[in-house]
Subunit: 322 residues, 2 copies
Amino acid sequence: MQALIIGAAGMIGGRLAASLARDPEPGLEALTLVDVVEPAAPAGAVPVTTGVLDLTDPAAVARRVAARPDVIVHLAAVVSGEAEADFEKGYAVNFDGARALFEAIRAQPGYRPRVIFASSIAVYGTPFPEPIPDDFHLTPLTSYGTQKAMSELLLADYSRRGFLDGIGLRLPTVCIRPGAPNKAASGFFSNILREPLAGKEAVLPVEDDVRHWHASPRAAVGFFRHAMRLDPARLGERRSLAMPGLSATVAEQIEALRRAAGERAVKLIRREPDPVIRRIVSGWATRIDASRALALGFVADASFDAIIAAHVEDELGGRIAL
Amino acid sequence: MQALIIGAAGMIGGRLAASLARDPEPGLEALTLVDVVEPAAPAGAVPVTTGVLDLTDPAAVARRVAARPDVIVHLAAVVSGEAEADFEKGYAVNFDGARALFEAIRAQPGYRPRVIFASSIAVYGTPFPEPIPDDFHLTPLTSYGTQKAMSELLLADYSRRGFLDGIGLRLPTVCIRPGAPNKAASGFFSNILREPLAGKEAVLPVEDDVRHWHASPRAAVGFFRHAMRLDPARLGERRSLAMPGLSATVAEQIEALRRAAGERAVKLIRREPDPVIRRIVSGWATRIDASRALALGFVADASFDAIIAAHVEDELGGRIAL
């Protein structure tokens, strides 16, 4: 089995590649990693090739697909904030890029790869019930969510037609997101854990009772690996599904931080209410009934304690700097 | 108010144009009718211009939009069967055509027309509950339904961004469809009424207990006219909605035919069960909870008796040929 990961320089894509190189799925013989910037090649038991791919160049997409990988994981995207700020770029990368990939696959006669597509809970838009059921309509309130929902529809139609064998994963917000704090409206969910765990201050712009839907980087990697193993016949015609997550309030996150790193860590969280962020966050999903994904064997994080422990192990070398 | 109807040579488009020319909405000053073939110009109180427009030619679409009509009714589409048979043509007309229209509108600075988009109950796919609620997810099982659902998502995003003021109408199956019997799988719902009313035989390929979701041509014209009057602010961010219809079994249709035209008409229906058509029809919506559209003032047909009476009046000059 040959696998191609598009978006392998990204946070999830890079971790998925490293995980697969270190501990390959049975039968995985080669891994090709591409992104708009050349991804790093992780060490491991599987031969890794890296390269550059611009999804807005259909000829370049077609050249990559001509190698006919058995599995294509498509994680590349312009993030939500950028897709909202740059209307044309968002559609060009997030929608036309996905379509160019699916079209390049369709153009190869007798080829029907598994395509694992990274969608997002941004396909949902308020008002919605809590939890959001599996059969709730997609009413995105961002261009990013619109582009993901449109790509999901294409993925299902191309699968139904037999051009590819698609699975779309609606990812929860990834927490604890590693790296430096960023300006994404959702950034604080990670910042308030990651920064104190590293002995640094973090800003909390919302109230403690704000609830959200989370998955750790480890869980997200697990979703993609599980999708590589899953028999797609079990999906039927409904090719995209909400991934299981952990529904938690900010207060619950902080309690887990207290258990892991003590009161000194919690004191590093500075409350600076920001009504703009509060308003944005109030439109986000807080709880999703991911029964379908759970029945198919996708696994969520067990608790925020487990999420913190995994972060300490994977990102901090097992040591809390307090 | 200037209105542009795209798809005005079609069955609903032509009837809408005739209706508006004869009995204009308040403030309607001019009507432009376009289609892939030049539409007929109906007589009436409003000046009518006709022309040819190929939706797969973005420059031609842009030239039409440059006249900045206040209302654009977009009804043009490759029908379901053709979109399934010709994958590329279906996407080119039904999806890329709608996108070209929305993009041409976005390219006009300071322009924000009302866009009334003809969607379809083909956006739904089995299994679904009965009735299908307003917040049920769209899982189309045809390329046509996929193209309509993707266009609905674009319509909502372009509306949210302020480029246009969109309303998407998910039309029931139109019955009694005038004209000659056609090979569409849904054709028999109309054939078994229209043909006997004209003294001709009709074939019924399914059982009498098959239930479906209908709207007369008059009701469909009424939906578009109501959408021209509706305050779009009442729609919020959810710009597309299921139109109210009449849920009826084939047996109920036949009883209405019996009341209108007697036993002689009913005897013209020949039962020739066709398992292929039965299977296709079994995947279609039978009943939709159109509460939202009803609350917004859209009006369904009262009964199949009313549908037959309207057909006799509009298409048969008030006379049943039996």
